[in-house]
Symmetry: C2
DNA sequence: CTAACAAGAGACCGATGTTCTGTTAATTTG
DNA sequence: CAAATTAACAGAACATCGGTCTCTTGTTAG
């Protein structure tokens, strides 16, 4: 940071982005839950109260990140599905799993959004987040339908929503706190989800597609 | 409560149960997230610090409730599936959805357990919770296999786990904070899950079973 | 160079989970 | 029955966190 106080608009923009980048890095490394305002401020090199000139609350920082990551996920799915042969169920399933596995912060935020973030934020921030969410689900559903045209629009959205829901839960299960890690080493059979994240999501997505076709 | 101070073991037991009952009632009414130690203490008619003679931390109270509710869910599924005709996919799906919908606190705790509760608790409490979880999943899977014997044990556990995961996410989505409720009234199309909890879970469970069969 | 403005620091506040300490009610015992 | 004991409990204190307030001072415009 070459400036101490961001007075010009472009500097403020830089600081805004620096806050988001720091929150991203910390959230990815230690989990969103474990990141405090002071942590982010320290990483940016600024006082805690200065952050709140850029975001109304802590929740808005992470809700903003989630809002940004939805379109990024859509892009990832679009790229992953480009050129996939029509009708390839396993490719669609693999794409869903891979693009989510590549975005651990988004998976973490899936849980935090409904539980923690959708509170204590401005109506505008909430609206933007929800808009990004429904748009992303619809866009990914549309991408999937280019590969699997036999799915209806509702079917595709249901598929994407269910995969996201399971990804949220499984991501939390796959990243237990230290206490639980110690317990699992002692008694491995207590681990409910002892399978890796990406293959499990892929398998579930494929099962769902087959089930939708079969009903 | 006819005693002010619980000195005899049976009185202590009563108070322990009273704390759990109060935490249950509050958690069911306002959501686990919104219940503070002082809330529970007030409902029991005791000081906040007195609760911590019975439980090491706030998390242990709700983790204990979750530990108790797993076997209760197994019982619910067992009762619901007794007498169901072998091969009835829709009955199994309906049973999963109905027994979860009847247990809103368990659905809420599904999210909180992995995100919040599995921290700051004693190793014994964590072990008991995990044991109850894996036992319940296995027991429900076994019940389902009596109706759908074509499912392997692994298939059945996978099914139950996935249904729980989606139930956790959908329950949170179905109970948005006031801010989001206001937003949804303004722009209904922003509601991602605008379908009711139980039919959605039933539909998903049925889809999963069909998918497992088809693969 | 100077004046004005607002970014930021630091003190402060309120809520919450948790700990500490003194009190006193319930039980036990002489 | 009275006195002694002891641990359950209340209340105060503490730590941490998100968030507010106020004042300082670096930055920019004129």
């Amino acid at each position: 940071m070459t400036f101490q106080r961001a007075r010009r608009p472009e500097h403020k923009r830089q600081r805004y982005e620096a806050i988001l980048a720091a929150a991203r890095a910390l959230g990815t490394r230690q989990g969103v839950r474990a990141v405090s305002l002071a942590d982010i401020a320290g990483a940016v090199g600024v006082h805690k109260s200065a952050l709140l000139r850029y975001f109304e609350t802590r929740e808005e920082i992470y809700l903003r990140i989630a809002t940004e990551d939805w379109p990024d996920w859509v892009q990832g799915m679009r790229a992953r599905l480009a050129g996939v042969a029509v009708g390839s169920v396993s490719e669609v399933a693999a794409a869903l799993a891979a693009t989510l596995a590549e975005r651990p912060l988004l998976c973490d935020l899936l849980t935090h959004a409904s539980l923690n973030l959708e509170r204590n934020v401005s109506l505008d921030a909430a609206r933007a987040y929800k808009r990004a969410t429904v748009d992303a689900l619809a866009a990914v559903a549309a991408e999937i339908r280019t590969v699997l045209p036999e799915l209806s629009e509702d079917d595709a959205i249901e598929l994407v929503g269910a995969v996201n829901a399971v990804a949220a839960s499984l991501w939390q299960a796959a990243h237990p706190p230290p206490l639980m890690q110690a317990l699992y080493e002692e008694e491995p059979d207590l681990r409910v989800a002892n399978f890796p994240f990406e293959p499990t999501i892929a398998r579930l997505a494929e099962t769902l597609i087959l089930g939708i076709r079969a009903r």
